[in-house]
Point group: C2
Amino acid sequence: MTRSFLTALLLAATAPLAAQPLPTPTPAPSTPPKYLPTVPKAVAEIRDAALSDNHAWDIVEGLTVEVGQRMGGTEAEARARVWAVAKLKALGFANVHVERFAMPVWTRGPESAEIVAPFPQKLAVTAFGNSASTPAQGIVGEIVGFDSVADLMAAPDSAVRGKIVFVTHAMPRTQDGSGYGYFGGPRRQGPSIASRKGAIGIVVRSIGTDSHRNPHAGGQQFEPGVAPIPAGALSRPDAEQLQRILKRGQPVTLRLTLVSSVRPGESGNVIAEVPGRDPKAPILMVGGHLDSWDLGTGAVDDGAGVAITAAAAKRIMAAGRPLRTIRVVWFGAEEMGLYGGMFYKDVHGREAHHAIAESDFGAGRIWKVDSKFGKAREAEGMALQAALAPLGIVPGSLDAADGSDIGPMIEDGMPAVGLSQDGTYYFDLHHTPDDTLDKIDPEALRQNVAAWTAMLAVLSGGIEPQPRARQRR
Amino acid sequence: MTRSFLTALLLAATAPLAAQPLPTPTPAPSTPPKYLPTVPKAVAEIRDAALSDNHAWDIVEGLTVEVGQRMGGTEAEARARVWAVAKLKALGFANVHVERFAMPVWTRGPESAEIVAPFPQKLAVTAFGNSASTPAQGIVGEIVGFDSVADLMAAPDSAVRGKIVFVTHAMPRTQDGSGYGYFGGPRRQGPSIASRKGAIGIVVRSIGTDSHRNPHAGGQQFEPGVAPIPAGALSRPDAEQLQRILKRGQPVTLRLTLVSSVRPGESGNVIAEVPGRDPKAPILMVGGHLDSWDLGTGAVDDGAGVAITAAAAKRIMAAGRPLRTIRVVWFGAEEMGLYGGMFYKDVHGREAHHAIAESDFGAGRIWKVDSKFGKAREAEGMALQAALAPLGIVPGSLDAADGSDIGPMIEDGMPAVGLSQDGTYYFDLHHTPDDTLDKIDPEALRQNVAAWTAMLAVLSGGIEPQPRARQRR
């Protein structure tokens, strides 16, 4: 075959039928490269120094060892506030005080679950917050199982009435924790739906990603007008076991004991400040929540968050005086219904805040920064992105931020920052007995402190070094 | 510098002072390469077919779902025997029966631990087998901590008397499980030593390698003449927490509740056979233990072991008739003191066994084969090594084997095989609530079945295919 013949053959194979001019598609628009500003030397230095931080470890170690669990509204949470005030004063913060509020206090009693028939065996269970109490000897009922909240919703009331509902799901592991939304449905919506349909109780597969016999607790609120019923989580191995038993096709009877009680009580937000040079300048507010679930010691949720944010503020304080006041808030009773956050909003929601930010997603490394300062302040958001990028943090949105306690204030339009922690393993521990100090990687904790310190430095309005004489005293 | 001058310089630097003849060291003897025999085609075929086995999964799934935990001597273990007899008959085994024996039955009651002072908080605890019972309200005492059994031994009685002893350790992860020996000391020896020194109770760091709030149960026997005291395990996170609290230097008071009871009862070994063509030929005995600890469902310890060994025997049965009878033994009450193994030895210890083997180290892949057939039968050991090598199994010793129930018979000189499972993660689950079906990798389970099937095929004396007509019926 000659070369010219081959060429002709190839042309024939690809050319349109007639020799018309070829259309030229419009090229895809190229995304403009993102240029971020340079990082001021002072910011870079205070950021990098924070990579050797020990304050955060000291706080989370002390809080979890010397107080342990501190469920919202309980005597343990009150001890945590006493501990917190002493600690924040010892660290040199100003204006350390508690802002108290009233709340109903739900407390866990004895709990257990066992299959009575056809294959008697115990299942690991724990009640959700605001669950109704069973009698001490529990309730006994036939299990009716559903693969999703939608299936429960679609079931006729007659299939549910007088029974104990079981709902499962297939929550995946995600870095950004987004699985917690949809797959949290069985806990958040399941109890109210089941009650409306006449169920005598409900158990759901734990909202989590691990396979240990440690069920995940969590809050839920019965919808207005819905009668509370006993509601709790089975550990994932137990939920899977129940599914295997249900698949055998015989009626399955469960004895469910979830004793609990509710009484009036109080909680409080612990507040501490680094006073700014300009008392009139809008403040920076950072924090986490001091309360925890009662099953672990609340190391990851949210001992880490209160530790990281206070440590960052302490590092700014040690470096000098910021223009803006930095306010550290350790919220009370977050887990039981954002009580502390709502109370802060009631008391301080009309004060001028330059930015608010909350650390409440564990102790994993920060991988992304979002901010929501409004169009006019996007340059500030980009300065923040630039300062954090060297810590391995992706520049994220300039029009997004979130947080649990601060969520309602963000919705009201307060400027906010979101420092996203890696949540790949967060839901292995979340609300379980396994939320303990040994799960915190000290290096990841330091990266968090460095990011929060850099964020405060960027937004502080400038830090004026203390006179040398005062530092030496 | 000329080249000859350089050479002279180098020679001078390395040569001895005078030009004497250099000594010639004896070369290290080279290890002769290991030649193993070729594997008969019939053995390779039955081995490889077993990589698609479903019998083992079917057994361990059924036992753990339909019975669950089956603590030695309890009603649950009795239900397991009923289940086992039905299952083994359904699989077509001959001579399926139970050999019953009496034993004291220790049963767990309510248990909890809490630090009373200086930092009130709960610790996750579980009692060891044969622990003395506390009163229902528990005992209260000051903690005295030790880093090792040796430190406890060395302490003056006055430092221990009237107190609750705590012993920690640093058990490492190992593939062969060898860490369980030395690092199991706090559980096996600690209670007797503490009691002799006048302690009112003892808690030790769980003998395990995980960091979950699930303490590891386990057996222990008080030495003759030693008064039983309450004895249990803290989970590793709780043991570490207690160490951090002790390091603060204040007296630490613990309330320890470990209620338990002992009553006379019975257990039994479940036995099933594949009859050999020669009823006089020494038999092959394989098995695991049917009982489990009460906290999990005993999937890995030892549901997997009974499943693997019975599945392998079933595969031989399906292939034809072996020369030797294969006896499957599911031992009772292993965990509480090798009762089933001792009873089998009493009843059958004088029968001629061609080889005995036990699967009781989880469900991880087999990585090594040892055998102990005696000098005269080393060729058989090498044939076994050859048959297993293609499964990724290291040819190990020709003069070693072990097993818990069969240990005493091996010591008496019975020929035995040891198929070592990978134990890297075994002590994450061992004797905890986390020993559940989801922890078994079906592919690793199949590799186990293939190895055990190949072992039985090699040692069976030859398998004679069933006549076609009989197979078709």
